[in-house]
């Protein structure tokens, strides 16, 4: 009897922890929508901020975050996939690949503010790119590289060896095999890594704080060497740095909601793409 009771109790305990997670997520989303929805309007989304963000919209921050995501992905995705292809398909597994893997794991564990400092040192100062979109994208690209490499390599390894052998046995070269009989089947897994990476890039504040983000810049960037506003930093500024934080709180919540929708939207698009790809190639 007591055994049965403890069985039930444990089951409920586990269930409660699961409910708790859902509750936390639900609360955060609810809180942001509840306070943020009222701030959202056409003006808020598509106009320049005025009076340090107390009035007007967040258009330049939306554009800025979009540019940072696009730019850093454009750098990190090809680089990460190429590294993954090398590690999974070409490299002889040994001391060197082991060292590379340790480096990747270390890179993944570095706090984002350290990436910011690194970006400041290398891109902003040493390479002389200044505080610019270029520096920000490069810094963010370094930060998400490990995520992309690891997920890409895993998805390449998930492709059965027999498909590679089948292709090679038909006289295809190694590259032809990878291009037409390995990569198409691993795109789905790579997209998963991309979703995670996009979420991080859009949300991180520390790396862009030191390399690109503008405190208040009510105009759109003209080139990759301009500074730009970004949603997470703008959120931080509004909620802690503004002279009248209480008055701009609705704007801060509005900004948070836009950021959330942006990240979820991009993630959703990638998930739909992944489903489409998986449906096309299943084995």
């Amino acid at each position: 009897m007591s055994g049965k009771f403890s069985q039930k109790a444990m089951c409920w305990l586990m269930r409660l922890t699961a409910y708790f997670v859902v509750l936390v997520v639900g609360f955060i989303v609810f809180e942001i929508i509840w306070h943020g929805a009222r701030a959202i309007s056409w003006e808020f989304l598509f106009s320049m901020p005025r009076r340090s963000g107390a009035e007007g919209g967040i258009f330049p921050a939306i554009v800025g975050t979009f540019l940072l995501v696009a730019g850093s992905i454009a750098v990190a995705f090809p680089l990460g996939v190429a590294t993954a292809i090398y590690l999974s398909e070409y490299a002889r597994q040994g001391r060197f690949t082991h060292a590379v893997r340790v480096a990747i794991a270390t890179l993944a564990g570095i706090p984002s503010i350290v990436f910011g400092l690194f970006g400041l040192g290398l891109f902003v100062i040493f390479l002389g790119w200044g505080c610019s979109i270029m520096s920000g994208c490069a810094t963010l690209a370094c930060m998400i590289l490990p995520t992309i490499i690891v997920s890409s390599e895993e998805s390449l390894r998930a492709v059965p060896q027999s498909l590679r052998e089948g292709s090679l046995a038909l006289g295809a070269t190694k590259w032809q095999t990878i291009w037409s009989n390995v990569l198409p089947y691993s795109v789905g897994g790579m997209l998963t890594g991309l979703i995670l990476a996009i979420g991080r890039v859009a949300g991180e504040t520390a790396p862009i704080l030191l390399t690109v983000a503008a405190f208040y810049l009510p105009k759109l960037p003209r080139s990759m060497s301009d500074q730009v506003m970004a949603l997470p930093y703008h959120l931080y500024v509004l909620s802690t740095q503004h002279p009248d934080t209480a008055a701009v709180l609705p704007k801060a919540y509005g900004t948070a909601l836009v950021l959330l929708i942006l990240v979820l939207g991009v993630g959703l698009a990638a998930i739909i793409m992944r489903i489409h790809v998986r449906k096309k190639y299943k084995w």
């Binding site: 498909l163 089948g166 292709s167 090679l168 038909l170 006289g171 295809a172 190639y281 084995w283």
Partner: protein, 260 residues
């Protein structure tokens, strides 16, 4: 050491001499010398781990893709050393098709599976590809079953059909030699019979080397049989002779089911 000279059965297609093969420091094949006759079926038999699959994969250099393998000796196809310094692996594999133990259709349409090889070798014209696909599928006795659904995924075929698709895919690159690594071991008796019929037909045009665990199958489909044991070629001869009057004690023990 056993050497079997190909006396008058037909011309020699593949001439193997003094072949040693190593996985790292483990030697898997010892001083193999044999002649494989042209346009005949040669069966490689022997217990698991005897080296017959390794030997088969040495004939189209598929062992090259395994790290840490090493090979010495010579494999001549039409007097051309495939391990020579001027040998071209891509060209070799075009001449020597392979069918694997576990059928490995690509997760693409039937058409794209069969057209994979020709496309890889630069054929882009759709009409030409269609002709190759039809010819190859007919040759693999699969055309009538699939001609109306060439665009469905290869994964939707039955196991036996998948294996015949893999044969069609290998035929599409017009090889001279066909290597088969236990092509029917995962199939039911009916599908196996189809594959065996097919091998019989194909041997008119192709030199076929088949690895099999199944004694009856070796006896049914092959003209010549080679018995491997622990990396050594123990005996090789015309299939009828191997199964009725084996010269070696080991061969006799194996084919009569005393071990293996």
């Amino acid at each position: 050491m056993v050497t079997w000279k190909n006396n008058g059965l037909s011309e020699t297609k593949i001439h193997v001499s003094n072949l040693d093969f190593y996985y790292g420091i483990t030697q898997a094949l010892f001083d193999i010398t044999m002649d494989i006759p042209s346009q005949r079926v040669t069966a490689l038999i022997g217990p698991s781990g005897c080296g017959k699959s390794t030997f088969l994969r040495a004939l189209n250099r598929m062992n090259d893709i395994i790290d840490g393998t090493r090979i010495t000796g010579h494999v001549l196809i039409d007097d051309e050393d495939i391990y020579g310094s001027s040998a071209d692996v891509v060209r070799l594999r075009k001449r020597v098709g392979m069918v694997f133990q576990k059928s490995n259709p690509f997760p693409k349409s039937l058409f794209d599976n069969v057209a994979y090889g020709p496309r890889t070798h630069g054929i882009k014209n759709h009409k030409q590809l269609s002709e190759i696909v039809e010819r190859s599928l007919r040759r693999a006795a699969l055309w009538d079953e699939v001609k109306d659904r060439l665009s469905v995924s290869a994964m939707d075929l039955s196991g036996g059909q998948q294996q015949r698709l893999c044969i069609a895919r290998a035929l599409a690159i017009e090889p001279e030699i066909l290597l088969m690594d236990e092509p029917a071991s995962a199939l039911d008796p009916k599908a196996t019979a189809k594959i065996e019929d097919l091998i019989d037909q194909l041997s008119d045009d192709y030199t076929i080397v088949i690895v099999t665990h199944n004694m009856q199958q070796a006896a049914r489909v092959s003209d010549v049989t080679a018995f491997f044991y622990e990396g050594h070629l123990i005996e090789m001869g015309q299939t009828e002779q191997i199964f009725t009057k084996p010269q070696q004690k080991g061969t006799e023990d194996y084919i009569t089911g005393r071990f293996g």
